[in-house]
């Protein structure tokens, strides 16, 4: 997968981005979502969950840190979406009680992580594919850049 850039003007634009992304999602895939407060990271996860057949609409996981959604999709062999928010994580030791490794190892799991900058060390130790989704905001312009590490 090459690096892709999209301009986001509406929810439909997000949906297009997700559509191009879907064939690249396998279990174990990590989606690392970067972007400032108000960029639309949670919105992206909501639309992704919907596209993957989640019955429940994801809400912000900032306080609970992790939320799980079971997926009903026949196409991608994906069983559940784990939505992680590292916004409140300052020291990576704080990750331990979240058992992210075990969560990720569970068959059929894909993981969307907001504020991946806060857990860089953990991310570099992952062997599963990581897709970086960087959302940038300039005034009212919103741009998303998608890039994947080798193997995706």
């Amino acid at each position: 997968m090459k690096t892709l850039k999209h301009e986001i003007k509406s929810l439909e634009d997000w949906q297009k981005v997700i559509k191009t992304l879907l064939p690249h999602l396998k279990y174990g895939t990590i989606l690392a979502l970067s972007g400032p407060l108000g960029a639309g990271k949670t919105t992206f996860v909501q639309l992704l969950a919907k596209a993957l057949g989640a019955k429940v609409n994801p809400r912000s996981p900032t306080f609970s840190l992790v939320r799980n959604y079971s997926l009903l999709t026949t196409n991608y062999l994906l069983k559940r979406l784990v939505h992680v928010d590292a916004y409140r994580i300052e020291d990576e030791k704080d990750l331990l009680p979240l058992n992210l490794d075990e969560e990720l190892a569970e068959p059929g799991t894909i993981m969307a992580i907001e504020w991946p900058e806060n857990i860089k060390k953990w991310l570099t130790h992952q062997r599963t594919p990581i897709i970086h989704i960087d959302i940038s905001l300039q005034k009212t312009r919103r741009q998303v850049q998608i890039s994947a590490e080798a193997g995706v």
Partner: protein, 343 residues
């Protein structure tokens, strides 16, 4: 009615709390102990810090609070154990649950797993005056850093969520907007402080979901609007900051109050509970009270006492009491955390 002495433990979120409450029917309720442990004073804890997450994997705090609370009392001097079972972070919840099941095993007393949100509902009931006016059906607005829910209470233990946030919680909107404005954590109190002598109508921010006929909330879009309006500002002097904080607070209060009033009319309730961390916001309390008095003559306003607004175990004891009175029991052998539990 027979006296019931409940020992309660709460570890669902950032605080560890232990409480002992004695119930002699509805009239006589005595909170004997109400201990809350926060490892770091809350104002030092910035939005990006969760040192407690690591700390709470240790049982130490729970054990030390339990020792402090119970003192020389024997386990047999309690009639039941209540513990928060969810919603919350699984690993945090399990600390309290493991402690509670051990105490249950040792004492042979009944155990009750309590829903944290039901605990918030019960926090309003801990106030004696509120208790007298607790006439169902009631409506509750639970509003905190992690929750924004409108709950219809048909009776004790009979609830229905009639509205909730579709993305961020109201408290989260306060905190993250404060961060955008460069204010320290926790954002809510800082915004409220700045807003004191600001003009709440200086900035016109969007009121999310106000026109939507549902009773749901959404605060994610407001956060984006806050960012855009804030970045557009060229001058950010004290006065403008005050006006901005006041406008933001007013926008959140407007949406919370409007939807609550709408729900109260729709379900013809007798009273409105205002509970959870954000209910500490003075403007929210004042405006909610005023709107109820103006528009809903027969409806009583039932906010929880300041003492029981933030997470505590007294409210868990109270909700546990409702459940036990209802005949509910939780098996100590099989109890487990329910991180995504709804009321």
């Amino acid at each position: 009615m027979k006296r019931m002495r409940i020992l309660a433990i709460e570890t669902s979120c950032d605080e560890t709390a232990v409480s002992i409450v004695h119930f002699c029917g509805e009239k006589m309720i005595r909170v004997v102990k109400n201990l809350v442990f926060s490892q770091i004073p809350i104002h030092q804890k910035y939005g990006g810090v969760v040192p407690e997450v690591a700390a709470r994997s240790h049982v130490a705090e729970t054990v030390s609070l339990l020792t402090q609370a119970t003192g020389k009392q024997q386990l047999k001097s309690f009639d039941a154990i209540a513990v928060t079972q969810g919603p919350g972070l699984a690993t945090a919840l399990r600390v309290g649950i493991e402690a509670a099941r051990t105490l249950t095993f040792l004492s042979g007393k009944p155990l009750i797993g309590v829903n944290h949100l039901e605990g918030h509902l019960a926090s309003a009931w801990l106030n004696a005056q509120n208790r007298e006016k607790f006439k169902f059906p009631l409506l509750a607005l639970i509003v905190s850093g992690g929750h924004t829910e409108l709950v219809l209470m048909k009776d004790f233990c009979k609830y229905k969520i009639v509205g909730q946030t579709r993305d961020d919680a109201a408290g989260e909107c306060f905190d993250k907007s404060a961060k955008l404005m460069g204010l320290p954590y926790p954002g809510g109190p800082h915004i409220a402080q700045l807003a004191l002598d600001g003009d709440p109508h200086a900035f016109d921010l969007p009121h999310p979901m106000l026109k939507d006929p549902s009773l749901d909330f959404s605060f994610s879009g407001l956060k984006t609007a806050v960012r855009q309006s804030w970045e557009k500002l060229e001058i950010k002097n004290k006065k403008i900051r005050k006006n901005f904080a006041a406008s933001l607070q007013q926008t959140i209060v407007d949406v919370l109050v409007e939807k609550t009033i709408r729900a109260a009319k729709k379900f013809k309730v007798n009273g409105i509970l205002l509970v959870g961390g954000v209910s500490a916001n003075q403007e929210l309390r004042r405006q909610m009270g005023e709107r109820i008095e103006c528009e809903l003559k027969k409806v009583t306003f039932l906010p929880s006492d300041r003492l029981y607004i933030t997470d505590n175990a007294a409210m868990i004891a109270a909700a546990g009491f409702w459940r036990l009175r209802n005949g509910d029991r939780t098996n100590w052998k099989t109890i487990d955390a329910k991180p995504e539990w709804n009321v």
